[in-house]
Amino acid sequence: MNADVLSLEANERVLAVVHRHWLTLALRLFSITIFALFPLVTWIIVLIGAGLTPTLPYDLTQYTPHFAVLYANWLVYIIIILGQTLLNHHLDVWVVTSDRIVSVDQQGFFSRSTGSFQLRRLRDVNVEVRGILPTLLNYGTIEIETASDGPSEFRAHHIPRPLELKEIIMAANTAVTAGEY
């Protein structure tokens, strides 16, 4: 694991690394796939329609190589969008260490926000799993309240196994306040 990104202290240990639930990525990938296939399906429909229209004065199939060039370029742009989507999903991460919780939200190439919450300042951890899909696939929202001068509430959505994560956070908090770490 590339822990340099987290700037860990000397005795700090990583207890959990959490990314958003795979369903959020799957839904985005599905819409990207629709965009990717749309021109191809349209061209096939146009060719079928032209084939069913014998009175058409020109042969559309002669333009298939031209379409192939344009479609290959279209797919390159789809790959660009896909790369950005996968990168954002992969870099959005919650890391629970023995001392703190680090939250990273990557919103684009030039937009990244990082938050860090000391476990000893933790006041409360709430979990919400609402709906059929979240219940079946076990993902939800986790909300943390801290006693700090800055923003005291933090919320993360689409977290997989939120109850397990809550247990890890609470156990780490107990250990920090008891002075085990």
Binding site: V5, P65, A72, V76, L91
Partner: protein, 68 residues
């Protein structure tokens, strides 16, 4: 090298423009991904796959455009 092929072939120009944009994007993607990732190995596999597939598509597009 006869560059009039670019002037005569709009599809090749489009392919070249796409290649430039893809190159720029790939540089940014590699930089950000390797700088901020927690799992270097997995990220490298993804980056290499993405770059290879994109490059192959561009080469295919250029070959088709030149032949037209």
């Amino acid at each position: 090298m006869d560059l009039t092929i670019l002037h005569d072939n709009m599809l090749l120009l489009i392919t070249l423009a796409t290649a430039l944009i893809f190159a720029l994007f790939s540089i940014m993607l590699w930089y950000h991904a390797l700088r901020y990732t927690l799992n270097r190995r997995k990220t490298m596999i993804f980056l290499v796959t993405q770059t290879v597939v994109g490059t192959l598509l561009l080469v295919l597009s250029a070959i088709l455009a030149i032949q037209l």
